[in-house]
């Protein structure tokens, strides 16, 4: 297969934190959903002041104290005066919005949009400002600046704000190291190719084409066929250097998770609760893959080390090491479905989530009523193919993995009726599958490139 040479990524025109993570030096984040209640001209005047401070992807010599990024919903584009014709050139699912696709996403029962936090999923959220800060003091300053700018212009206000904070050791609330396994992207993160790219038959890995994650570049389809045009993208200025973003607030019932795993582990013949939880996730709490270390975590494991994720599922097609329905195996089956990973390579996404809420004290088995969970953020060229293509058939169903109607056990089941099969000499069934994770709200967004942001400000975005 001949791959055409890829054009260089225009890093200074792409917003930051997409291709390369800002990293774990930013302890605090705020996601502020802004509502526009004024004429487009006035809103654009406010946006002009924001755009000047947006962090792009150009490499920095010194990390700034805070970063700022901007994304828009479909109704946000309209509120800024973008024409219906141009909005019509965006993807169908983006224009519909996340709430309209709740059934498809499995956001039912306690996760259904009518139960979402007020302000999310209603079309009232127009602009998302994401602020990252190194310290709480920096964070406070950045938020104050944001509020002052809104007050100055008037007509724009924060509709909904979610603050988030890194947990010790970059863990999520169930206790697992999170966020370090990311797709390797040609021209940006090629060093992550072993384990992060596409597993090739000869044992090597190659990075993914950048058009899978940023619009205006060849993707995995177009990069092998010169006759093909670039992947679908909006018309005009927003066709280049932008990407689609999925934002979800996922509440985690840590006590319920701990109780369920403890109760199931009492019956589990092959190990303790730690091992059972690792089988459900596909990783030990420190991030060691169960696939490479089925009996216990590797004390030397370093998630940042090159090759930390360098493993395949070909030698484990029966799931004896890593269960077929383990969370990470579902989300990125690598070569589990076919030897060259062709059935999974078009369904990768960049994840930039962050936990929110305080940790439930270790060992606590009763819920303290506090809100805690994960702000899930993903970037991809196609929400339908990538985010939804994982969420619907891979997380919310088991058919493709030969698991019938089993869902991803970790993410729970609103009706509390599911189970997970842990393959083994004698299979073990973990049940009941409770609603460990409940969606509190979310939005589908578009992250324009820097030129496109300025075109929005100038009213020339179409």
């Amino acid at each position: 297969m001949i791959r055409a040479a890829l054009p260089a990524l225009e890093l200074s025109d792409i917003q930051g934190d997409i291709l390369r993570a800002y990293g774990n030096s930013y302890d605090c984040a705020s996601y502020a959903f802004v509502r526009i209640d004024c004429e487009p001209e006035q809103a654009r005047a406010w946006l002009a002041g924001v755009v000047d401070h947006v962090t792009n992807a150009a490499p920095w010599s010194e990390k700034p104290l805070t970063t700022l990024n901007v994304a828009l919903t479909a109704s946000g584009l309209a509120a800024l005066g973008v024409s219906q014709e141009t909005i019509g050139s965006f993807s169908h699912e983006f224009r519909q919005g996340m709430a309209a696709r709740a059934e498809l996403l499995g956001d039912t029962g306690p996760s259904a949009p009518p139960k979402w936090d007020q302000g999310l999923g209603t079309g009232d959220a127009h602009v998302l400002l994401t602020i990252n800060a190194q310290t709480t003091a920096d964070h406070r300053r950045a938020l104050a600046k944001m509020q002052a700018a809104m007050k100055d212009t008037g007509g724009v206000s924060v509709l909904y704000q979610q603050d988030a904070e890194l947990l010790h050791g970059a863990r999520e609330h169930f206790g697992f190291a999170d966020g370090f396994a990311q797709p390797a992207i040609a021209g940006a993160t090629e060093d992550k190719a072993p384990g992060g790219g596409v597993p090739e038959r000869d044992g090597r890995w190659r990075p993914l084409a950048p058009g899978e994650f940023v619009l205006g570049y060849p993707d995995e389809d177009t990069s092998v066929d010169r006759a093909r045009r670039l992947p679908p993208a909006p018309t005009g200025a927003m066709a280049r250097n932008g990407t689609y973003m999925v934002w979800r607030k996922l509440h985690q019932d840590v006590a319920l998770w701990r109780r369920t795993i403890a109760a199931a582990a009492a019956r589990y013949p092959y190990g303790d609760a730690r091992k059972l939880a690792a089988k459900v996730v596909g990783r030990w709490q420190d991030g060691t893959p169960v696939q490479t270390h089925p009996h216990g975590p590797d004390p030397e494991f370093d998630p940042a080390a090159p090759g930390a994720n360098d493993f395949r599922y070909r030698n484990d097609l029966d799931g004896r090491r890593c269960p077929l329905g383990a969370h990470i195996r579902r989300c990125n089956p690598r070569d589990a479905l076919d030897p060259a990973g062709k059935l999974s390579l078009r369904h990768r996404m960049i994840r930039r989530g962050m936990p929110y809420g305080k940790v439930l004290p270790e060992g606590a088995l009763e819920d303290d009523g506090a809100e805690r969970g994960l702000v899930f953020v993903s970037f991809q060229a196609s929400i339908f193919r990538q985010f939804e293509g994982v969420q619907t058939p891979w997380i919310n169903d088991g058919n493709i993995f030969g698991l019938g109607t089993d869902k991803d056990f970790l993410l729970g089941e609103p009706s509390g009726s599911g189970k997970m099969t842990i393959q083994g000499e004698k299979p073990f069934f973990v049940s009941p599958q409770e609603a460990f994770v409940v969606t509190r709200g979310g939005e589908y967004l578009f992250v324009p490139g820097m030129t496109a942001l300025r075109a929005l400000v100038d009213g020339t975005a179409g």
């Binding site: 066929d225 299979p427 069934f429 049940s431």
Partner: protein, 182 residues
């Protein structure tokens, strides 16, 4: 020669009919209003594995090319994967789904009026298009066999999960009660 529409014991039926100009909207609205699942009119045809109607407004430009191949009018595509032979299936279709069939194909060019019975069946036959490739996930299982198997599978899984907590004698007893006769 073997029919290109046959895969194992299943038959792939395709019917391609032009929609009367100006009636596309009414047809779409009618199709949109039909129930899915058990309430679907297609559920009245128990030999159906999978079936659908699609309104095809036009042929899109082939991906990556500028080649256009306009249809000239909108078409209705009906596809069904069914058990057994097509003749008896169409017979059942016009008999058991008479009201909906008359409404749907009544919007199509050349459909007999009234759209019913032998005349409608002949119209559907005449507008059948052979399949390029016929595929069936379970070519040798009937709809009934698949439904029975799914039900048994669900009951077996439920039993297997609960059996983890049972003593051997209890497990044996319940297994024989539930599955011994099968």
């Amino acid at each position: 020669m073997r029919s290109p529409n046959i895969a194992g014991k299943t038959y792939s039926l395709m019917i391609w009919t032009p929609i009367k100009p100006g009636e596309e909207g009414a047809l779409r609205a009618y199709l949109d209003g039909l129930d899915n699942g058990a309430g679907s009119p297609l559920a009245k045809l128990p030999r159906t594995h999978m079936a659908r109607w699609i309104v095809v407004p036009d042929m899109p430009v082939a991906p990556g090319t500028d080649l256009r191949d306009p249809l000239g009018t909108q078409f209705l595509l009906f596809t069904s994967n069914l058990d057994g032979d097509v003749d008896s299936y169409l017979h059942e279709l016009v008999a058991l789904m008479a009201v909906e069939a008359a409404e749907v194909w009544g919007h199509c060019v050349g459909c007999p009026q009234p759209a019913e019975g032998v005349a409608l069946k002949a119209y559907l036959h005449r507008n059948q298009v052979d399949s390029g490739v016929a595929f069936a996930a379970y070519p040798n299982a009937s709809v009934k066999q698949i439904k029975t198997a799914l039900d048994k599978r669900a009951r077996l899984i439920d039993f297997a999960v609960r059996a983890q907590e049972m003593k051997p004698a209890e497990r044996r007893k319940e297994f024989l009660e539930q599955f011994g006769a099968a």
